[in-house]
Symmetry: C2
Subunit: 516 residues, 2 copies
């Protein structure tokens, strides 16, 4: 048995970086936890230990105080300090359970079924099917606005001004659906720009589309309910829906948008998630006929529709179209949007427009599940909108993105003629560059990444069998002068993959020529 003070003296580094107090505390705790200082052992007096270790008595006193506060030792005035018995209660701990699958309250304890690993099944699936890209900037990342063009100085000026006169109400919790002046500004904006029917009371401020969808799904759908999603669709929506136990029914799209078949129509789901202004990712617009049919179907079968209007501002060559929600006479549509792609994604401010009778419910839901916050940011945004900066910024970016889109389309034509179709280019921050049927768009994506160019493979957006091959190619965040050089790199990668089977492609585009 080693004498405590000898052992401590050997461990302590009085000249070390870590303060002696901390070292001593740590060492004493270790000794007690490992049992080397057994329960009931009387510790030396602080004076004695300090003298033995050659350190200040105060240091030892403080260590003993902390050990006492944390329950390692018991101090009794006049009787000394003793190691407390804090050994785990082995009767409570019990024998090791066989690892078993999700709890069945009726199953006998220690049922032996599949072992549980670290992760849940739904967690593992989320990670396995994750669609988020590791790199989020540069040619040709889709869906990312050119944040370098964001009027940072203006934003900062408005922000500073607000912080000068900030009241507590903007810094603390505030259940209420979001900063009211922002809801009012958004309400006005949406009524004019998107023909959305709403009052400020119907607007719920969220942190973006993911949270909006999550909230709608939790309040309106139960675990196990079905939802129609467009096939293909945004991976983020899919992840959020599945994480809440929603069964996804992928519905094909055609040139007019969502196109449910007879079997689909016979089994009305609880909700449908659609992108009618600009199908994500393929880009078609839902026709008026399909919109009216979908709304009528929703009315008939009490189906909820979540309209994700993610980037409708950027339409090239024609005015933005009216929202689906504006056509809805039956309060079946939950309209969601985000300021992220208009301003900067890091802002994390989005909104939902809900039917009036659900507004109070959604306000409570957002406060209960996520706690509200970011009111300062919302206040800055409200000023930004009211002073006209949102509108002018969007107008400027629409022109800029239009130019970049054209440069990229020209580059495609220069390199490939019309061999590769361009889909969905009438709007948005990306289009889909079609690839020949035999291509593996994930392989092309990986190869492009190696070559320093980012695209996203259409494969990632299909739930079921992939109907089309292609690459989501974004141009918004690519400076004009980078477009041709970056596309030249991408073109080389595509050629290697697509034209490795050269004969097949040539015969698809022109009369066979003699191979040289």
């Amino acid at each position: 048995m080693v004498i405590l003070s000898d052992w401590l003296a050997a461990q302590l580094d009085k000249a070390g970086v870590e303060p002696v107090y901390r070292q001593l505390l740590r060492l004493m705790q270790q000794a007690i936890l490992t049992g080397h200082l057994a329960p009931g052992t009387r510790l030396p007096s602080s004076r004695t230990l300090a003298a033995d270790l050659g350190i200040a008595r105060n240091t030892v006193v403080h260590v003993y105080d902390q050990l006492s506060a944390e329950g390692y030792v018991l101090s009794t005035t006049g009787s000394g300090t003793y190691v407390a018995d804090t050994r785990p209660d082995s009767a409570a701990v019990g024998p090791r359970t066989a690892l078993h699958a999700p709890e069945d309250a009726d199953a006998p304890a220690h049922a032996t079924t599949c072992p549980r690993g670290d992760m849940s099944m739904r967690g593992q699936r989320l990670i396995d099917e994750a669609g988020v890209s590791a790199k989020q900037w540069g040619a040709f990342m889709p869906g990312v606005p050119d944040v370098a063009e964001f009027p940072a100085r203006t934003w900062s000026r408005l922000q500073s001004r607000l912080w000068k006169s900030v009241g507590h109400d903007l810094l603390t919790y505030a259940p209420g659906g979001g900063y009211r002046p922002l809801r009012r500004a958004l309400s006005d904006y949406l009524r004019v720009a998107r023909s959305v029917r709403c009052s400020p009371e119907q607007i719920i401020i969220t942190t973006g589309i993911h949270q909006s969808i999550d909230l709608a799904v939790r309040l309106l759908a139960d675990h196990g309910d079905r939802a129609w999603v467009e096939e293909p669709c945004y991976w983020g929506a899919r992840s959020v829906l599945q994480a809440s136990g929603i069964q996804l029914a992928p519905i094909p799209v055609d040139a007019e948008g969502l196109n449910p078949g007879d079997a689909d129509l016979r089994h009305p789901p609880r909700m449908a998630l659609v992108t009618p202004s600009h199908q994500y990712p393929l880009g078609m617009v839902m026709s008026l006929a399909r919109r009216r049919t979908l709304l009528e179907y929703a009315r008939q079968h009490k189906m909820w529709i979540i309209e994700d209007d993610y980037d409708s501002e950027f339409r090239y060559g024609s005015r933005p179209l009216a929202s689906l929600q504006g056509l809805d006479e039956s309060d079946r549509v939950i309209y969601v949007g985000s300021l992220g792609k208009l301003l900067f994604p890091g802002l994390r401010i989005g909104y939902m427009v809900v039917p009036e009778r659900l507004a109070a419910t959604f306000r409570t839901g957002v406060a209960e599940l996520y706690r509200e916050g970011q009111l300062m940011q919302q206040a800055v945004l409200a000023e930004f909108i009211l002073d006209g900066y949102l509108t002018s910024h969007v107008r400027r970016m629409r022109t800029l993105y239009g130019e970049r889109r054209q440069l990229l389309i020209d580059a495609v034509t220069r390199h490939f003629g019309d061999a590769l179709p361009v889909m969905g280019d009438e709007a948005g921050l990306h289009f889909v560059l079609g690839l020949p049927e035999h291509c593996d768009d994930r392989e092309v994506t990986a190869a492009a990444y190696e070559a320093g160019v980012i695209v996203r493979p259409l494969a990632s957006y299909y739930l079921g069998k992939q109907q089309r091959k292609g690459l989501l190619t974004g141009y918004a965040c690519v400076p004009h002068e980078n477009i041709e050089p970056a596309f030249a790199t991408l073109a080389r990668v595509i050629e290697a993959h697509a034209f490795g089977k050269r004969t097949a492609l040539l015969s698809a585009t022109q009369a066979p020529a003699s191979m040289s």
Copy 2:
């Protein structure tokens, strides 16, 4: 049948606020949607209609263009403009389904079971059991720091400086667990202040405790899994867990914290959510013996522990205690915290410390489910911490809150002697003022609200049978001079409710005196 131009002329208000273009567009859309302009009807030429209505031809041209873009009409050059057939496809819409309960894929279409209302069952429960308070400021709201004392000018200065030199990487998406300098600063802070074992890589930045718990539950637990929660516990944790389909097992607490009974111990849950530093809401500290037993139990049964360390900085009269995570040798603890109560709740920045082998998984999870953002805010916070402002602010607030706590305790003593116990006052931003057994603390809360004082009823925090009556009484956000007057108001309300049954209380506190 009315002539189109006559009908339009009667509806148009050329002198009105709404632009003529918009009015005309709206009227034409309405006429088409209602069927008054039947599919196939040829519209008058723009020249004719403009002349008939006495408006500019250009206006009519633009309206026709928009109607065409949206699919209301078909324009053929030379042949005119015709109303398109966009009537809902009645075959697709089908007969009205009987409203039925959550989808069973095998159930026949139109199964007749319970009708579905607007809300889901889980949504309705969330709203019914919502614990969030409508008012979030003033005497005696618990859990709210005094944001009026927040160094706004310093924050704003750091913020402006950062915005001057902002690069795109701080404004856009960035999967990666959060701004690295912030993770490094937090890692250093937590190691020293809370004895948390972590590297920056183990830290995941979230929007606060709700999101942290939500993420952990989704990645580590499946729908139907069980979780131990302290009884009573924070309503927010309960809501988040239930919203993800977790079955809650309420575990009693005693003076040493979580105290599972034999039956509880025989059925190990997937996870346990605990507040060992300062039980929320009752305030006791989990003893070292219980901590060691819990950790050993978790190791034995592969249980996850979520340690919610929500306000451990504000401990009065003794040092903050080490975290439970610091004792854990088996990587079973997920440590979560938030900057909200230290700085301001609207900030919405929190963090999780996860075992190293799960770090990459959690980073992907946060990006996939919520999209990352707020990097600018995280950058400002990192500067704030590194420049020492967090530590000095916390130190200052600890003193301030300590004073307010004492003033409130004195007020309680002045009004009630020791008739009403004060629980959990050693730390935090609130304590629990015990009420006599016969009181209904929800009634007292409602009456206090009417009188202009906010408290929260202990009843809201119990899942099962309420074991104790009391009021969560917060002092942090109450200026010194308001404490006595506000408590005087609360005291009157309590007296009316508690001493309405005067005899019972008197006999509990003193020998019966003759009633006057």
